[in-house]
Each structure stands twice: as structure tokens, then as C-alpha cells.
Symmetry: C3
Amino acid sequence: MALEKLTSARQLTLPVLEEIFHVAEQMRQVCQKHGRITLLSDKMIGLVFLEPSSRTLLSFQSAAQRLGAGIVFIQGVGSTSFEKGESLSDAIRVFSGYCDLIVARLPKSGDAQIAADASDVPFINAGDGGNEHPTQSLVDTFTIREELGTLSHLNYAFGFDPLQSRSIHSLCMVLSQFEDLGFEFVSPPELRAPKSLIQQCQERGVRVRESDRIADLHSPDVIYLNRLQEERFPDRALFEKYRYEYRLTPEQIPTSARLILDPLPRVDEIALEVDALPIAGYFRQARNGVYIRMALLSMLLGRSL
Amino acid sequence: MALEKLTSARQLTLPVLEEIFHVAEQMRQVCQKHGRITLLSDKMIGLVFLEPSSRTLLSFQSAAQRLGAGIVFIQGVGSTSFEKGESLSDAIRVFSGYCDLIVARLPKSGDAQIAADASDVPFINAGDGGNEHPTQSLVDTFTIREELGTLSHLNYAFGFDPLQSRSIHSLCMVLSQFEDLGFEFVSPPELRAPKSLIQQCQERGVRVRESDRIADLHSPDVIYLNRLQEERFPDRALFEKYRYEYRLTPEQIPTSARLILDPLPRVDEIALEVDALPIAGYFRQARNGVYIRMALLSMLLGRSL
Amino acid sequence: MALEKLTSARQLTLPVLEEIFHVAEQMRQVCQKHGRITLLSDKMIGLVFLEPSSRTLLSFQSAAQRLGAGIVFIQGVGSTSFEKGESLSDAIRVFSGYCDLIVARLPKSGDAQIAADASDVPFINAGDGGNEHPTQSLVDTFTIREELGTLSHLNYAFGFDPLQSRSIHSLCMVLSQFEDLGFEFVSPPELRAPKSLIQQCQERGVRVRESDRIADLHSPDVIYLNRLQEERFPDRALFEKYRYEYRLTPEQIPTSARLILDPLPRVDEIALEVDALPIAGYFRQARNGVYIRMALLSMLLGRSL
């Protein structure tokens, strides 16, 4: 794979996806058998997390060390030299002298490309503002394929904030490469999916529907939900109105549904009673984050099992 | 040992204590000889520290790595997804997918049980609010047994805040299982030990005394002190009044005393001149924290030397 | 080498420098060949960073793990027990029970000596307030010797805040041990080098000049620049006046210059266009930080390749 710097879900073409899925599946098996291996025991991974994160951070920490790599790590704007007025480019260029690969979560849209350009070593975007989070899309698609055997010939429902969810946007773009898909966006009227997103999906042959109510869902195979992000509602009353209205309970799940995913954290979008259902896949999805990130670290460093 | 999730000092029964002490003593020897070993080199330990800590955090970091384990680590509420409204249960369930054992320090009383229930892997409570801190009691009792050869047939003095000290409460409950003990609580009148604690100790056959002054101490073998916690005094003037009045100096130490302990940090409760005395055991006590935590990590993961 | 606790650049005598440079050069070669080695695989390094840092912290993390050592780590006043009123001496004494060597960045001038005295294990000062930062001077001198083959018989220019720059002060003192040197301080009139520094350099035989303008620089071989530290200007208008006036552009570089260094972070003191010049050595300088710190960790722990 020619991939050396992963900044955008747009780089996740079908052959790239296939290779990553294949390696991630190998990583799962090797982890279950050996716990940790020495594939990257001569390497140092740099984790630069300048925005809050827990799942992404912990799964990269876990992935690096399950591969035997060492970690250099800085977290939070307050504890770095950025506050002294240093540019992102300078900082990343210096950091890339301390490690063999950089994983960065950065606060502003577009930061990932700036950082990737400045890095002397392979680079992975672990989220840059509201822009991209390509490793999340990999975790999502890998989980669907593991659980349902395919990504094609499926109906997907996405809720409840298709307007603003970075995870939904990226996932739709990656998925839309597959054949014979239906996408259904379910959301309050104020949070409908962007017209441009719908148009791009349709141009790629996806059947698209929109609805305001969970009850209107039309035979989805996969239901992909994401919390309403309180911080993005200009009007708090609106958030309070919708937070419990858009909440999946066991009774509301269409009989067609075979898998429920959520990039987490979960707030109110899925009732706790759903957790006990076999089709509730979000905790397995989180766990897959480790295997996907092990695959990426190995591949970008040119190593294979 | 059946112990898989350690949340409370109540789980530290006599046979459990014996086994932990035995393994901790082995760990001390192996550390002094080899520095680090590979007993857990296939394991990942998750450290979730959502409240300030230094000693407990560092000693778990040291213990895990002296056993060859990798570490995944999050610290501080501000840097996690908890602020987005995620429940503790969800977070711990996800974290337990990234590692083989979770160690958690959590801000609220009762959090440890919630977290232990949510975890898919073994769990250690490293302190939950004002509630429990069972690994501290292990360090305390291990140190006494190492230094004096026994935990029975001893007189213990506890000061200077038996009302509020989590360390004193837990230690009293663990100790009270041993034979022929005297407990003496020394404190300002406002900070007397809770009646319920005294009653439980007496029911288990412990002789209990209370006094207001260090000078009244009645032939203690072990003196266990803990700082007055300024933040818990509603009246600051009261704190200022007592902070230097309750302060152990070399002159005040009864001749019967054979060991002085303090879970640290020390503020004013022990004068610096005490440090030079051979019976000042608090820095050795801190060091024992590593061996106790190595023992716990190994045992909860089912490994032995 | 007798060095066991490195607190001050004054300990960096000529034989000490020679030995460190020699080992650092070995470390560079071994890193380029093997990535990571096991020289310290039985050791734990304690990193205590109570002040913001990125370069120094990351290069020590990298150095320790490239040598195979484990790391125990605390960062930031807010997450430690220091806020509970514990003394620095107590904290360091306890920490030294958890590891085999302590590296500390501390907020106040003089803290490093207090910490070194309290530590039961070898100690490295990674910066204490405005006082000392001896490992930076090592990185600086190592880089000059690597790039120019010698530290003697050279003219050095230092700017643009010789009054307050800890890096410039320490570097001048270390360099002044070498033969046949010229130092030229270039700064706004308000930021001239301290008289005492100039006097000490002259007493050691260094030729000293001062100038207000970059254009007046007198055939320097090495140009060593450091940002104007906004936070140290009582008068913000003054900072704004000088920040772009004292800024090295390619046109301003004297033809005599063979190497440009900067301890970084860079703010405005060097124009981005300078980066492309072969004599721009500051990113190579940052990278050398890993090799120097690998050398120090090994030597203070009595290990050699």
C-alpha cells in the first residue's frame, strides 16, 4: 500500500480498505493468541493529542504497545509549547525527530494536512476539528463487514445529527463506494443531512431517503447513531426538546435491523435496554478500534506479520 | 485466590492478606535482583485516573512496567469524554476492551463498584472519593508486618483526623481481624473517630481509647498519622489552630513506639526532625506500594512467579 | 564519570563534555541501526514535569524508551499531591522509591538542587525556572561540534534576548571553557546581556562585543537565536515594537555564518525562508536532544554500550 500519511477518509479507496481489513483481522487473531507481539519493537510512536479524546487515544496507546512499540506522548494545549506561539508546522517537524510515526488529534479543521506536510515520518489523522476522522470510518466499516460479512447490498439508517456528525459524513463517503446501498437519514428537521452530502451519495448510485421520526425508518439492516452534540446547539431549549425524542428503545427497532452501531460516547441516543440485544454492536465496535489501529501502524511503517 | 475485582477493604480477609503479603515479598526480592521481569509482558494495564493522585498513580505505573506489562492511561476529567455526558459504566465498559485489567481512581464514593460491575476485565479500586482505598490498607499492613513481624498483639495509635481519614477507616477495619489489639485515636475534639467505627472495632474485640493530646498516648507500638485535610475544614480558623498543635516531634514520641507510618503526603503532622529516626517508616511504606501493587496485578491476572 | 546528579551547566567541564559527546555519538549510530536497544531494559525512569514542556519531555520519553527503560510519569501541578501542601523534598524522596533515575522540570529557580538533594537515585535537571537547563547546553554544544567539528576558534553571535534567555546564559558559560572564542550579543538596548555574564566570559579570555542591530554582526561562525519571551516584557508595546525588528531573514545572514541554531520554540526570531538553507541547523539540533539524553541516562546509571 502506498499510503504513508492518512489524513482523509477520501484516501480509503476499495483496495486500501480491503488491505486494512485483512491486516486488522490478522491483528485480532494474533492479539487473542499472544496478547502482545514484537512486530514494531524497534519503533517509537508519537501521540500528539491537543484536543480531548479518550477512546481514540486509548486505542492507539493499546495498539502501539500490543505491537511492541514505545510511545512518546503529549496531551493538551496547556502542557505544550504551542502556547508560546510556536506554529503547528514547527512543532510537528520537531516531534517527527523523536519518533517513527505521528498520530495527531488537532483542534482545527485542516490542521491534519498542515501537520502531515510538516512531518518527516508517516502520519495518521486522529481527528482534526469538525473535519475528518478517517480511522473512525475504518472502525465502523470493519465492524459491519465482520458482523454482516459484507458492506454492499445493505440499507443503512443514520441518526440523529446528520447535519453535524463528522463520523456520519466520513462513513457515508467511504460506504458510498460499495454497491447497491440505501441510506436513510433520520433527524429533527433542523439537523437534516447537508444537501451536498446527499447529492454526492446519489451521484454514486446510493438510494437516499430522509425522515423526521424513528418510526418512519424503512427496513434498515444497519442503524448507525451518534449523540446530539449539546455544544453545537445555539438554542439550548431545542437540544432539551430533542434529546429524549430521538432515543432508540428496543420497541422502536425495526425488525429488519441486524446491527446497531454508535461511535460513542453515548449520551441519550440509545436506551440502556438496547445493550442486551445481540444486534447491539457498539461495544464490539469500540474494541475493533484496537485492531484497525494496529493494522494502520504496521502498514504505514511497512511491516507485515 | 478468587479475587478478581478489588473494590473494598472488606474483601481483605485474613487468607487474602496472607497470600498478597507472600507474593509482595516475592516481588520485592525479584525487583531487587532483576529490576524488571516479563511475567505480564503479554498484558496491557489500563490506568483511569479521574482525580489528582501522584503516589498511587506512580506506584501502579512502576508496578505494571516492572512486570513487563504495557500501559494505557487517561488522566483528568478534562481530557476524557466524560465531559460529553457519557456514563461511567459506558466508559469503563469501553476501556475494558482496550486492556486486560483496569485500575481506577474515581471522584465519587461508590464509583468503584459501578466501574467494577461494568468492567469486562479484572478491576482494582485505587480510591473512590471519600469511600475506599483498599490498596493503601494493603501497603500499610504489609509494612507493619515487614517491620515488626506481626500485626497481632500490638497497640496502634491513629491521628490526627480519625473522623475523616479514609486511610485510617480502612486500616482499622482490616487490622481489627487480628488478635489482641489496642486502638487509640488521638485528635482535636471536633475530629473524633466516628462512633460506628469505634463500635465495629469493639465488637471485634479491639480495646479502644480516645484522647485529645499526643502527650496522653498510652504505649503505642505503631503510630499512624495522616495530615489534617484543610479542604475539609468548614472553618479555616479551626484548621490554623490545630495544624501546629497536632504535630509529632521527636520529643513527643512515646518510648514504646517501634514504627511511625503516614500514607503521605505529609503536611504538618510530622516534624522533619522525625525523618532521621530509624522508626520513621513512612518512606519505606511508600516504596512498599510498588511491591503490593505488583502482587495485586499478577494475582488478579492469574499469574505467579 | 563521577557525575550522578546533573543540576547545573557548571558541572559540564571539558572532560565531562568529551565523554558525553562520545557516548551521544555512539547512541546516534545505534539508534540509526537498531531503533531501540535493551541497555536499560531493567530500569525505570521517573519523569516529573511540573511546568509546561514539549521538546524536553518528548526527547526524554524517546531517549528512555529507545534504551528499553520503562517510564513513570507525572505532569502538571494540578494532577499531583503538591497542591495538598507537600514539600518538594518529600515528593521527590517518595518518587525516587518508584524508579531508578529522576528527570525533573520544576517551576522555581533553585528547585533542582533541592530535588537532587532529596533524591535517593541519580537525578537530571530538565530546567528549573529561569535558573538552569544543562541538558539544553549539551544539545547545543554537541550540535556545533557535530556540524563544525570543533567548539574552539569560533565566533558566536547570540540574540535576541541575552538579558533573560536561560539557554544563552548556560551555553555561554559552557562554551567559555574552549579556546580562542568571540561572543557577540545582539539585542534591543533594553535586553543587553547581564554585566556579570560578560565579565565572566572576558575573565575566561573570550572576546566580547555587543550590538543593537543584526546588520552590525561581525563575521560570526555560529548564530544562536532565541525568541523574545512576550511574558517577560512588562510593557507589551515594547514587545510588539521589537518582535519583527529582531528577525533573521536570509538577506541578513552574514556570509561568514556556517550554522544557525535555536533551542526552539521559534516565534518570530527566524523567518521561515531561512529553514531551507543548509546552515539552518535548528531541526537537526532538536533531533540531537534524543542522543544527548540517551547518553546522560546511560552514564548516570553506570551503563555503557
